[in-house]
């Protein structure tokens, strides 16, 4: 069914009331993959989960939903899919430990929004600290400071109380700041 509908969509048979899957894919694919990558820490798993998310998007696109905010919907679906993936791969996370970074990716300095140069060492510290965050702290931090959601939206998406989101966020921020200020 999905394949047939995909073929129809590619041929241009799109109901005007139905959201255009291709537009949504182009607009959000990279961002959703990035969220999955941050939450899972593994590019291959992120790619798998990203595909699952866009299959769900494709199915959701079959029915007209004029008031749907697709960006937040996709992020929510991605966060939950990542959580399911983490649960199903608990044995791997128990068995394997990932405490080293592939240094090649962070060897070059980066640039901050203010135009400051972020040294390779600072970038390495950020990624290492981020990797050590607990799963929930990671979710909250990504939604609040990478996706730029409000605390209330984060709480709604994750099914948490606002106070709980603030607690997780505070711990994550303290951990990340401590890592960034190490040695400076």
């Amino acid at each position: 069914m999905v394949a047939a509908a995909l073929t129809m969509a590619h041929r241009g048979f799109v109901d005007p009331g139905v959201p255009d899957y291709n537009d949504l894919y182009r607009a959000h694919h990279a961002r959703v993959l990035r969220v999955c990558r941050l939450l899972l820490g593994d590019p291959d798993e992120a790619e798998d989960v990203g595909q699952e998310v866009f299959v769900k998007l494709f199915r959701a696109c079959q029915t007209p939903r004029p008031d749907m905010a697709w960006g937040p919907w996709l992020t929510r679906v991605a966060v939950h899919a990542c959580r399911d993936r983490r649960r199903s791969r608990w044995w791997r996370r128990w068995w394997m430990v990932a405490d080293e970074l592939d240094e090649g990716a962070v060897a070059a300095p980066g640039r901050t929004p203010e135009g400051e140069v972020l040294s390779a060492e600072q970038r390495r510290r950020i990624w290492r600290a981020f990797d050590r965050l607990a799963a929930r702290q990671r979710e909250v931090f990504v939604l609040r400071h990478v996706e730029g959601w409000s605390t209330q939206d984060v709480a709604d998406a994750l099914g948490l109380e606002t106070g709980s989101v603030k607690r997780h966020l505070f711990r994550a921020v303290r951990h990340m700041r401590a890592a960034l200020s190490e040695g400076s």
Partner: protein, 153 residues
């Protein structure tokens, strides 16, 4: 207020959820305003790096702390199994060759009458009149007064 705001209060201020006293303090304390700006800058920096920076791949390796107990447990279990199979004492030949016990053997052993004569012999001599009489199926003192008959006391 003389004390500066803590990290949690600064984060609240950044979220726009400061309490009244914290807002008052921020209105009059340049140090805390500067610290709040610094926190905002750092969070933007981290957010940008996570959003746009090339995400490095993590190098995974088996956790020694986790797999060592599992390996030790497996080795111990294998050792126990080997000991149970190979290390058990051999069965003596006469027991190994014996016929299996049947119900007839049990019945014969329980109701054997070969040694009944040995059992019927008096144990401590003829003065035990009651024992001998009982073995004969009599009661010797039934007709006499046991008070005057020493054998029936």
């Amino acid at each position: 207020m003389s004390r500066h705001l803590g990290e949690r209060a600064l984060l609240r201020a950044l979220e726009g959820a400061s309490r009244a006293r914290e807002r008052e303090h921020l209105a009059s304390c340049a140090t805390c305003v500067g610290r709040r700006a610094q926190l905002a800058r750092e969070l933007r920096r981290i957010g940008t790096e996570l959003r746009e920076g090339p995400a490095p791949r993590l190098i995974e390796r088996p956790s020694t702390i986790r797999w060592m107990p599992a390996v030790l447990g497996t080795v111990a279990a294998a050792g126990l199994l080997v000991w149970a199979v190979l290390g058990r004492a051999p069965i003596p030949a006469q027991i190994a060759d014996a016929e299996p016990l049947s119900l007839d053997n049990v019945t014969a052993a329980l109701f054997a009458t070969d040694e009944i004569d040995d059992v019927a012999q008096p144990v401590r001599g003829s003065e035990f009149v009651e024992e001998q009489a009982a073995l004969r199926g009599e009661w010797p003192c039934a007709s006499t007064d046991p008070w005057f008959d020493r054998d029936c006391s």
